[in-house]
């Protein structure tokens, strides 16, 4: 039996809360948050010594559980992956124990999941934003955050006061091919756009 299947069988024997997770490729398990650290520790001891990825997932607004964190472990000796998924119990204040004590590399991955989804990792040595700036008020990868972004103030108040410019929403607001987020007519904003302001009821301009 391959190393990954062995390890998962051992996990399920020790922790009854561990269940199989539907997967298209690597063996995968669902783990209750309380068992997460012991399970990851056991997998590490079983040879899955490299934490390659930690990914937050938002399963849609109103879904329960809404947030899941998915860990991918790689065995550097057996060259097999294992996927471990843990659901955050609380939707409003998602929380999971931090794996940073097991793998120092988890530090940045968890900071990213916190930055993008607002998932708090208890016991993390230094949980702050990593890609967005400190003090940024939103969690951009949540499904209720619009693709175009939300206008916010820049981190440096002095710069904002001087330039009167904040972080503006992207011009993709409303659809991928709309040239401006505002109320500007597409034809005015984008001269190359096809003029379709005339219809059967309105005559073609200049005709």
């Amino acid at each position: 039996m391959p190393a990954a299947a062995d390890a998962i069988a051992a996990l399920k024997a020790s922790w009854p809360g561990v269940t199989d997770r539907a997967t298209l490729d690597h063996p995968a398990v669902n783990v209750p948050p309380a068992d997460l650290l012991p399970v990851l520790g056991a997998l590490k001891a079983a040879g899955f010594d490299m934490l390659t990825d930690v990914a937050g997932v938002d399963w849609a607004v109103g879904a329960s559980p809404r947030f899941t964190v998915v860990y991918h472990l790689l065995s550097t000796a057996a060259h097999e992956y294992v996927r471990v998924a843990a659901d955050c119990a609380d939707v409003a204040l998602p929380e999971l124990p931090s794996a940073a004590a097991l793998w120092p590399g988890a530090d940045w991955h968890e900071r990213e999941a916190f930055d993008m989804y607002g998932i708090r990792f208890t016991g993390h040595p230094d949980l702050r934003r990593i890609l967005m700036w400190d003090g940024y008020p939103y969690f951009p990868l949540r499904k209720d955050f619009p693709l175009a972004g939300i206008e916010t103030e820049l981190p440096d108040a002095e710069v904002t006061a001087e330039t009167k410019v904040g972080a503006i929403a992207a011009p993709m607001m409303g659809g991928p091919f709309v040239a401006s987020a505002g109320e500007i007519n597409l034809t005015d904003a984008e001269p190359r756009a096809k003029d379709e302001s005339w219809t059967e009821k309105r005559p073609k301009p200049g005709a």
Partner: protein, 408 residues
Amino acid sequence: MAVEHVFPDSAAKNAQGEFETEKMSLSMGPSHPSTHGVLRLQLELDGEVVTKADPVIGYLHRGDEKIAENMTYNQFVPYTDRLDYLAPLANNMAYALAVEKLAKLEVPARCQAIRVITAEMARISAHLLGLGAFGIDVGAWTVFLYSFTEREKLYKLFEELTGARFTTSYARIGGVARDVPAGWNQKVVEFCDQFLPILEEILALLTRNKIFTDRTAGVGVISKEDAIAYGLTGPNLRASGVPLDLRKDKPYSGYEKYDFDVAVGRNGDGYDRYLVRGEEMRQSCRIIKQAIAQFPEGKWYAEDAKRIIAPPKDKVLTSMEELIQNFMIVTEGPQMPAGEVYFEAENPKGALGFYIVSKGGGVPWRLKIRAPSFCNLSILPKVCVGAMVSDVVSILGSLDFVMGECDR
């Protein structure tokens, strides 16, 4: 007349602790020639020695993962160019392979061979830039001039194949954009033949260069255990003595058919990382030559992929079925099964992973990009402590990262 500044009692005063010393904080970057893009290091210094290093990243964050959730699988291919923009061909391939895993698509042998050739060419081009920039960082300008000349030749070949020098967007889900042009393979072989002696010349500029070895050997040492614990991959991991190479250990795209060696270092310092990259370029040439020698006939896309990649333009304009199919692919995207896949490819910088959560349909529900540069940089707070400020420059050069990929 020269003025002599003599402070006869300073040493005595220092010994008695009469001089106050305090730590200095230095912000290095985000626009600093050695930070290769927009990395910022918040350093805390005790004289010349770094006591704390806090990397500040995110200056190039474009929200690629958010964008991916809002467009079809096909539309995301050009965005993968902009991850590790020094090896777009390899990124395209890794992304295509991840989605093909989800769609359970097998591409023909010819397509696999084309992808291997282009990915290895991308590796050479990425390592050449890494090497040139590393050389500049530690004061060896000449290497950069040589390596860029070679890189230019590669770019000419990329342009001939893909139509673009830099952002190639060449791979498609289930194939590649077009077959190799007539005579292109021969040009690649000719490139490899003339490149190998030049590579030796380039490496000879550094390998026994006293200044280079002084500035890299023993600098930025990463132990085997640390390298694994921090999730380092690629040349940085192998330089620390871990022989993990996904091309060998989890072969994809037909890498198992080719004979090549995995370069492994021993000390995990900057010098070993340089040596590993040098050797990888030789091995890449070996792979390319083998792939071209046994270049298979056949299609450059999978027959099944017709439900994913847009049909040829002349067919769209003349045939009803292809027109409808084109319309469906453009408006709704290629229909994928629901489920989760995770795929990692051995890119020049390390293992580039894509974790795709699909709920079915033409748009990924979640697409997580596991960026090798992100993981490789996460070790900086550990490896920079105790180094001199000038060593930080050497460490950054030896880690060879790309911020486009780190920040996504």
